[in-house]
């Protein structure tokens, strides 16, 4: 499969292109998000411990999550571009430059996968969405982790190997409509300085980097897709030939691209990435499951079966069922089936086809987080008014208008179904493309098991969306 020629280059667009290419564009966006993060932390620690009236919980669990996935699907990895953790990290690196390199044995996604699952578990166990102070500490924890790791280890070790949000963004950005690409391959072939990865040096001081290259080890001429790209634009600033485009492309097509990727290798040889994708897909269903009424009776059944009245072991069983047993049965079953049909190994089928579920998983995340974003979009107004009242003691922005909320939950349902259907259709299409790549002569036979799994998951997701919502902070056993 060859990469199709790209369409429009965003950098050539009027106003937007110039703004993106401005050398302080990223820092400006980071400063804005740093200011928002500071307000969230301050209000979370010092404001009222009432989640719907606190900026920490409202901005984190309603707006940040929702806008994150909207941005990923509509544009690209903008929240990694504007990540304030990295702004603080860069400031700290001016005081303490990292000297060590991230350990070779950790150069996989396993630490991030563990943290991703851990965050999902802690979120459900402690109902983080209902705890402003804990949410503020979570934000501070991210800042602390980025600082601690990246002031010891060079490059973007935190982003590439640790940050759970980053991994979520990397996987979802495979569906983004834009990608950083080389404009003219011939220019890169003739390039001897490879500043896009090594950084641009000052001619008078060759050891001094004046423009940072890609910290995530993505060499532009060999870069395929958006995976691991934080859209930091360092490569764009570093390239002396102005040979990098932010190119329009067909979303999700990269998932079926079997080529070796710079800084990543082949997707079909990466167990860690395959597991990350499985967690991304089944974690989406699990995270949404926590919001509907039937989960509470299911949790009570688990509690009865294992003879406990505490929530942690019950949630543990639920997580094992959702993130280990269900994927093993469904994905293992589909891989065995397609391997038997086309005479290949189960491992190869699993590692080739699991990525086809990414669009479906993104559809579930978008349907879930989109629900909160669209139903709570305007709550930022009264909560900000309330925060000013809390912090300043004066209603400088007026009395909180609590009637400002967003769309009615019922009216969002068709939108959720649309997002889910779009993701499912994407998965069906990409799965077929993978099947064509893996077994050109028997593509349909190879794809059928995976198409069946996708449709089964789609039915499960529709059933979940159709259930009455019941949001409890105390869980089934509280």
């Amino acid at each position: 499969m060859t990469t199709p020629a790209f369409g429009s280059d965003v950098f050539s667009w009027p106003v937007v292109g110039a703004a993106l290419r401005w050398k302080h564009a990223r820092t400006t966006l980071q400063l804005v998000l740093l200011g928002v993060a500071a307000l969230m932390v301050l209000h979370g620690l010092a404001g009222p411990q009432l989640a719907p009236a606190n900026l920490a919980t409202v901005l984190t669990w309603v707006h940040y999550r929702g806008l994150l996935i909207v941005a990923l699907l509509a544009v690209g990895n903008l929240f990694c571009t504007g990540c304030p953790f990295i702004l603080v990290r860069d400031a700290a690196r001016r005081v303490h430059a990292p000297a060590a390199r991230w350990p070779r044995w950790l150069r996989r996604k396993w630490p991030a996968i563990v943290l991703f699952v851990g965050i999902l578990f802690v979120y459900e166990l402690f109902d983080l969405w209902a705890l402003p102070r804990a949410t503020a500490w979570l934000v501070l924890g991210y800042f602390g982790a980025a600082l601690a790791i990246d002031t010891v280890f060079a490059g973007a070790s935190f982003c590439k190997y640790v940050c759970p949000i980053g991994q979520f963004n990397f996987v979802t950005s495979m569906l983004s409509p834009f990608e950083l690409r080389v404009r003219e391959p011939a220019t890169c072939s003739a390039c001897r300085t490879v500043d896009c990865i090594k950084g641009r040096r000052a001619p008078e001081a060759p050891l001094q980097v004046v423009r940072r290259g890609c910290e995530l080890a993505l060499f532009l001429p060999a870069k395929v897709g958006n995976l691991d790209c934080t859209l930091c634009l360092d490569c764009v600033q570093a390239c002396p030939h102005d040979n990098i485009a932010l190119a329009a492309r067909v979303p999700a097509l990269e998932i079926a691209d079997g080529r070796r990727r710079s800084g990543i290798g082949r997707l079909a040889q990466r167990w860690d990435l395959a597991v990350l994708v499985a967690v991304f897909v089944f974690g989406a269903l699990l995270n949404a499951l926590g919001m509907i009424a039937p989960v509470y009776s299911f949790e009570r059944q688990i509690a009865g079966a294992i003879g406990t009245t505490t929530e942690a072991p019950v949630l543990g069983v639920l997580f094992v069922l959702a993130l280990v047993v269900a994927p093993a049965l469904l994905l293992g079953g589909a891989a065995s089936w397609s391997a038997a049909v086309i005479g290949s190994s189960v491992r190869r089928q699993l590692l080739a086809f699991v990525y086809g579920l990414v669009p479906f998983g993104a559809g579930v995340w978008a349907a879930h987080y989109g629900f909160h974003l669209f139903t709570g979009l305007f709550t930022v107004v009264p909560v900000t008014q309330s925060a000013v009242l809390d912090l300043a003691g004066q209603a400088w922005l007026g009395a909180p208008r609590w009637t400002w909320v967003g769309m009615q939950p019922g009216t969002v349902f068709p939108l959720q179904l649309g997002l889910l259907a779009l993701g499912t259709m994407g998965s069906l299409g990409v799965t077929y493309l993978i099947a064509e790549r893996e077994s050109p002569s028997r593509a349909i036979a190879a794809a059928v098991p995976w198409l069946a799994v996708t449709l089964l998951l789609f039915v499960a997701a529709v059933w979940m969306l159709a259930q009455p919502m019941e949001m409890r902070a105390a869980g089934a056993l509280g």
Binding site: P52, T57, A130, T375, M471, A474
Partner: protein, 143 residues
């Protein structure tokens, strides 16, 4: 290879930009925090519901507000807002009527099953602020 990261910022005047901005932001936040008024000791709140909260059915909240030593809060001007524990959901507002001896009453219609928090805000008769809240666990779905 040793890369001297960060030096390009010096050349473009960004050396102190994050530091200056962070300092200015911290100063503003400290100013805001110092302006915040101190809270009075909140009164003790108890709420009884008749009937038990159920989606789509009006429940009467019998509110009792007492200061220390069980002294009833009389003459307070209050408003009630009920929030779901999950942020971003539509709150419910209700007028609060005084019944005497620290008792107040409000009629609330919950809109979704799950856990809610009732927040009472207002002022005492002497103008001091009241801001108290109580959990309402397991508002039941429509039967």
């Amino acid at each position: 290879m040793h890369l001297q990261l960060g030096s390009w910022r010096d050349r473009h005047g960004l050396t102190r930009l994050p530091g200056r901005s962070a300092g200015a932001a911290a100063a503003c936040l400290l100013l805001l925090a110092s302006c915040a008024r101190s809270e009075d000791t909140p009164p003790h709140l108890t709420i009884g519901w008749t009937p038990l909260p159920t989606v789509g059915r009006e429940s009467v909240a019998e509110i009792q507000l007492n200061e220390a030593m069980a002294r009833p809060v009389t003459g307070a001007r209050l408003r009630l807002e009920a929030f779901m524990t999950h942020p971003g959901m539509a709150p419910v507002s209700a007028a609060v009527e005084e019944q005497g001896r620290g008792r107040y009453r409000a009629r609330v219609s919950f809109t979704m099953a799950g856990d809610w928090v009732v927040r009472l805000q207002g002022t005492r008769a002497d103008g001091r602020r009241i801001d108290v809240q109580e959990d309402v666990r397991r508002v039941r779905p429509v039967e």
